[in-house]
């Protein structure tokens, strides 16, 4: 049984067959993906499933990882923040270091391919140092919201763009005008991963028990980092507004450990203070690999919240919808693409708004069920990895046949 065959039970035999058929048009191409780490982080997670699936589809695909001294990662972390518009303090030497590490990696890595996908800014200057003719097409895949970047950093990265044949952004809203085609490819979830696969009822109940959550009472859940943009304090405020009407209500705020993130630790402290000794309000600090715990919590929730004030695509919303839950989310970023009032949940603009919509949904089990069903189908059609693979195959087809007229292959 091939890797892709496992997805047939989720998306159907025909859909997998159609994907294979599309892939035949680009089969045999040599593809390289380059990023800066093999473990940890969203990009490594995507490449972890994408590379073997590309190979199964007949594309000869490799994954290369750049290497650099610790200082290089400090610089690229600053680039990452700067692209998202946060203030950073970078010196000329930092840009030179980035350039030099890219030069060294261009010599070290085997990049010979028909197409190289360069993920994020860390390896962004590889095309500059790679001998001409070794790579047929270069594509820069920017996973970061680059709508309002720091000027100096963007000017530096922008200089690399003309060396590429195309770029890819997750949403139109994340892109800035560039002199190369800017494909839109939203992220996706893997329905068979630990975070999204169906789990046994006993495991779900055991997870709730382990965390002191009552399986028989309504549960609100927000899964997110302890970050001010995720507005965990707003979620607690909304919960407090609801508690007099629904005394049996529970709230869980689940997020990763904030040990290595000074700001995260500060936000977590504020959250703990605001939560106080309220017994029905649990703040869970989970390790980075607690995927099945998150899965169990999401499947147990009555309503899922993602009350962000600013958000990227919002894959936690996608995960929640996939599990058939109505979602109440802040009207920002990709959340607004996924939540549709009265259909998959509600967009809200304040803690009061969140409380108001939760009250409505707690009252109507049938509406929650209907929304959950619609949300699940919406994700199935648009945000599973099969669609993601199809989008990459279309990029390869486009690069072979550029233009805007309908392409029949």
């Amino acid at each position: 049984m091939g890797l892709l065959d496992r997805y047939e039970e989720v998306v159907g035999h025909q859909e997998v067959r159609r994907l294979r058929h599309l892939a035949e048009r680009v089969a045999g191409k040599r593809i390289v993906h380059v990023n800066s780490t093999r473990t940890g982080g969203g990009v490594a997670e995507i490449l972890g499933w994408m590379v073997p699936l590309f190979n199964e589809l007949g594309l000869e695909t490799r994954w290369e990882v750049i290497a650099g001294p610790p200082d290089f990662y400090r610089v690229t972390k600053s680039f990452h923040n700067a692209i998202q518009g946060l203030p950073v303090n970078l010196k000329r030497g930092d840009f030179e270091l980035h350039n030099e590490v890219n030069r060294q990696n261009a010599e070290r890595l085997n990049l010979e391919a028909d197409a190289v996908f360069v993920h994020d800014p860390q390896p962004g200057y590889l095309p500059h140092f790679t001998p001409k003719g070794r790579v047929k097409r270069w594509v820069w895949r920017c996973h970061i919201d680059a709508a309002r970047p720091n000027r100096a950093v963007w000017k530096y990265l922008e200089k690399a763009v003309p060396m590429y044949d195309a770029t890819i952004f997750s949403m139109a809203a994340f892109a800035r005008p560039l002199p190369r085609p800017m494909f839109i490819i939203p992220p996706s979830i893997d329905p068979l991963s630990d975070k999204n696969c169906p789990i046994p009822e006993a495991e779900r109940l055991e997870t709730l028990g382990r965390h002191g959550i009552d399986a028989d009472r309504p549960l609100l859940l927000q899964v997110s980092r302890f970050d001010r943009f995720k507005d965990p304090l707003g979620v607690i405020d909304a919960f407090r507004l609801l508690k007099p009407y629904y005394p049996e209500l529970q709230l869980v705020l689940a997020g990763g450990s904030a040990d290595d993130d000074p700001e995260g630790a500060e936000v977590l402290k504020e959250v703990m203070e605001r939560a106080g000794s309220e017994k029905d309000l649990k703040v869970l600090l989970l390790p980075p690999d607690a995927h099945r715990t998150i899965n169990a919590l999401q499947r147990s929730a009555t309503i899922i919240l993602q009350k962000s004030l600013r958000e990227g695509f919002g894959l936690t919303v996608t995960e929640a919808l996939w599990k058939g839950k109505p979602v109440i989310g802040g009207a920002t970023g990709g959340i607004a693409l996924q939540i549709h009032d009265y259909q998959t949940g509600f967009l809200v603009y304040s803690p009061a708004g969140a409380a108001y919509r939760v009250r409505y949904l707690l009252r109507y089990a049938d509406k929650r069920q209907r929304m959950g069903k619609i949300g699940h189908e919406f994700v199935k059609e648009h945000f599973l990895l099969v669609r993601h693979l199809r989008d990459y195959l279309k990029v390869l087809l486009y690069l072979d046949h550029p233009g805007m007229e309908t392409l029949v292959v």
Binding site: G12, H21, A172, A173, H340, V408
Partner: protein, 224 residues
């Protein structure tokens, strides 16, 4: 018995391109409608049905949707929602109609409506990439039987895209049904479906209902 070629089912997909440009208010929308290249207009009016939008949206095009949800200008949204690019005599005529509607609206309102930050209309252009799915149907009954499981993308290609690339009067399915000997009443009914105002799932159900009526022996009769 007269022979006819089988129906060749295509699948398709959009490649979407960001422009890095967006509209925040009605004045910017007017400017965009005057100046954007045709593929941008085509995307927001026609191809957006294949976008990763929510299918149960109120309006069939992005412009009406954004005026309603983003700007809160219900009057203009209703007007643009009624626009049918397939019946408007080409893209230049559609563009002129939109520009006229937006300009007229700007003349009559006291304040220019703006959207909230984060709810901007991001301009996108797209290209359809179509490919032979390797599925062939030799009889109308065989097509009817397969209809519930063909992809919504195929439906878009053989209906919306067919109208756009052809004379605007028929889709691939009804053209083939006609030569395959389907009853004229069935073909007439098929062509009278107001496809632009349906989402793709609704459209599939509507066509399946026609199959059920005219080819009751096909599987569509039971699976619809």
């Amino acid at each position: 018995m007269e022979s006819y070629p089988p129906f060749v089912l295509f699948d398709c997909g959009l490649t979407r391109f960001a422009l890095g440009k967006y509209c925040s208010n009605l004045r910017e929308l007017l400017e965009a409608m005057r100046t954007v290249p045709d593929p941008v207009l085509e995307h927001h009016l026609v191809r957006c049905v294949l976008d990763d939008h929510f299918e149960l949206n109120e309006f069939p095009n992005d412009l009406a949707r954004w005026c309603w949800e983003g700007l809160g200008d219900q009057v203009l949204a209703e007007q643009l929602g009624l626009l049918d690019p397939y019946q408007s005599g080409g893209l230049a005529a559609v563009r002129a109609t939109i520009v006229d509607a937006v300009e007229d609206r700007l003349w009559t309102i006291e304040r220019v409506p703006w959207c909230r930050p984060g709810r901007e209309l991001h301009l996108v252009q797209s290209r359809v990439i179509a490919y032979d799915s390797d599925e062939r149907f030799t009889t109308p009954a065989a097509l009817a039987e397969a209809f519930p499981r063909i992809s919504l993308r195929s439906l878009f290609y053989h209906v919306h895209e067919a109208h756009w690339r052809g004379d605007g009067k028929s889709d691939d399915f009804s053209s083939w049904l006609e030569v395959a000997g389907a009853k004229p009443e069935m073909v007439r009914q098929w062509r009278s479906v107001d496809f632009y105002f349906r989402n793709l799932t609704q459209l599939r159900h509507e066509y399946m209902a026609i199959f059920r009526q005219h080819l009751p022996e096909s599987q569509a009769a039971v699976s619809g």
